[in-house]
């Protein structure tokens, strides 16, 4: 019961002091808003990139052609060697006849081309599925090093470019987000410092009459929480509506059919929840720093 009363008082005091130090509180709230908006955008982008990468991983395969004189035993050995490699999902055998049929079906002009040969001019092959697109290059090189391999390849350039762009976006956003979080926490620390200073008489009396340390610190930590929470309102609204509208405008695709966005429902509420929690966390972090540094009790 006592604890609830003290928490209740702390909330009242926190709101009061947000308004008492209005300009600095506003600066902290705005800074939190900007930070959280950036975090929200980064998260939305990062999750979508992850999603796209996952679907690319399912599409991307390495095609391995065996040398013409490769025997069945060679094929068996190559299959087991490939499947023993790290990050390889499976290697599926595809004979030259299967290729021939498939190509003929795809385009009848191949049919006449094949007819001009006595023998099937194609090669037996493996289609290799990987677990992680980042290891495509390594696996391909390892396969090339095996015996009786004519060639091994995947859609190298397009994938590499996309992956390196994704990687770059990831790194840049991480750096921006971390710096923004620090700046915000610092600003909140200073806001709370001002509150501590403006309430130093009150704190002195509280200590004198026997408030526990927790009861003295609580209002400041809750003030940080309130600042963080107020700062998260606008980002949450913008994130939810922004993403839903964007998704509908784009019909769920970016540029090509292959790249689909994550459907907004649940996903965007999940992001909003993270943003809100992060706002409260940054606020409390900032105020805890201030309390530790400036509230000598």
């Amino acid at each position: 019961m006592k604890v609830f009363r003290i928490i209740g008082r702390s909330f009242r005091d926190a709101f009061k002091s947000v308004f008492r130090n209005f300009s600095l509180s506003m600066a902290s709230i705005l800074c939190t808003t900007i930070t959280l908006l950036t975090v929200a955008i980064s998260l939305v982008v990062a999750y979508n990139i992850q999603d796209i990468t996952n679907s690319l991983e399912k599409e991307l395969t390495i095609v391995v052609y065996l040398e013409k004189n490769a025997t069945n035993e060679d094929a068996e050995f190559i299959k087991s060697s490939i499947e023993a490699m790290d990050n390889v999902e499976k290697a599926v055998y595809k004979s030259k006849d299967e290729w021939k049929n498939e190509m003929s079906e795809y385009d009848s002009s191949y049919q006449s081309l094949f007819d001009s040969y006595d023998e099937n001019p194609l090669l037996d092959s493996f289609v290799v599925y990987v677990k992680d697109v980042k290891s495509l290059d390594t696996i391909t090189n390892n396969i090339k090093a095996l015996d009786k391999i004519e060639s091994a390849s995947y859609g190298k350039d397009a994938v590499n470019t996309m992956l390196s762009v994704f990687d770059f976006i990831d790194k840049v956003t991480v750096v921006i987000v971390i710096s923004l979080i620090f700046v915000t926490a610092f600003l909140i620390t200073n806001t709370i410092k001002l509150t501590i200073y403006s309430r130093r008489n009150e704190i002195e009396i509280m200590r004198l009459v026997g408030s526990s340390n927790i009861a003295i610190k609580m209002p400041f930590v809750i003030e940080g929480f309130v600042i963080g929470f107020l700062g998260s309102i606008i980002p949450v609204i913008i994130t939810i509506y922004g993403y839903i509208i964007l998704f509908e405008k784009l019909n769920g695709h970016v540029l090509v059919e292959l790249i689909t966005l994550i459907s907004p429902y649940n996903f965007i509420f999940y992001i909003a929840l993270i943003i809100m929690g992060l706002g409260a966390l940054i606020g409390m972090l900032g105020s805890l720093l201030a309390v530790r540094k400036y509230l000598k009790i």
């Binding site: 006592k2 008489n201 009150e202 002195e204 009396i205 009459v209 026997g210 340390n213 009861a215």
Partner: protein, 233 residues
């Protein structure tokens, strides 16, 4: 065990000043004790030992069964809840009324709203400030402000009331009234009172036990009524 027990207490501040030297004294429940001495003799330091504003460098301080010297910072509040403290400067919150200033002490401790009101009203009545309950500190005289502080100090019904020159800023007439209030608290509520003061007239008139501190040493312990101003300060 006595209510308050100081044994061989030494206090040397970080500046190297020794404010108390080998001081031992015992005080019973319900006593009224003056602490006198020249300026810088160590009166305030003695007082600060009792509510753990300062820790002794050596020796032990026991207040109401609590070993103050060994009390951890985190636990100091437990001691403070048993003690009321009044200073020379009033330390009231300027934006709160008389009632709110007194109630503040209880709110800090998480007392429920329905318990706060009767306790606050009783304390304000004891110090005789019922008519000014809605006034703000700046609307009160010095004596009235000190009454508010006393009300705040006793609102939680402490066993011990500590005063460091409570009349230091007041004229002789007002001081007299304040002393009457403190004396009544001692008599009616059986609250132990320890008061540091410069004011010889008050000490002579009230005929209480007197502790004389000189250069940090307890040089006199005069039992009730036996102190005459010519003997010491």
């Amino acid at each position: 065990m006595k209510f308050i027990e100081l044994k061989n207490v030494n206090k040397t501040y970080s500046t190297g000043v020794t404010a108390l030297a080998d001081l031992s004294v015992e005080i019973d429940k319900g006593e009224f004790v003056f602490v006198i001495g020249h300026t810088a003799s160590g009166k305030s330091t003695f007082i600060k030992m009792l509510y753990r504003e300062e820790k002794p460098t050596k020796g032990s301080v026991i207040v109401g069964g609590i070993n103050v010297a060994k009390l951890r910072n985190r636990k100091v509040y437990k001691l403070r809840r048993k003690i009321g403290v009044v200073f020379q400067d009033f330390k009231l919150l300027p934006k709160l009324t008389v009632y709110e200033n007194v109630a503040f002490a209880l709110e800090c401790l998480g007392t429920s709203a329905k318990d706060i009101r009767p306790k606050v009203m009783k304390a304000i009545e004891i110090v005789g400030l019922k008519e000014k309950i809605r006034s703000f500190p700046h609307q009160l005289s010095g004596g009235e402000q000190q009454r508010v502080c006393i009300a705040r100090a006793i609102v939680n019904e402490p066993k011990l009331l500590i005063c460091d020159e409570p009349t230091g800023n007041l004229d002789p007439e007002t001081s007299k009234d304040i002393m009457k209030v403190i004396d009544n608290i001692n008599k009616d509520l059986k609250t132990t009172v320890i008061m540091a003061t410069h004011d010889k007239e008050i000490v002579n008139r009230m005929k209480k036990r007197v502790l004389l501190i000189e250069h940090g040493v307890l040089t006199g312990d005069y039992l009730k009524g036996s102190y005459k101003s010519h003997e010491g300060v």
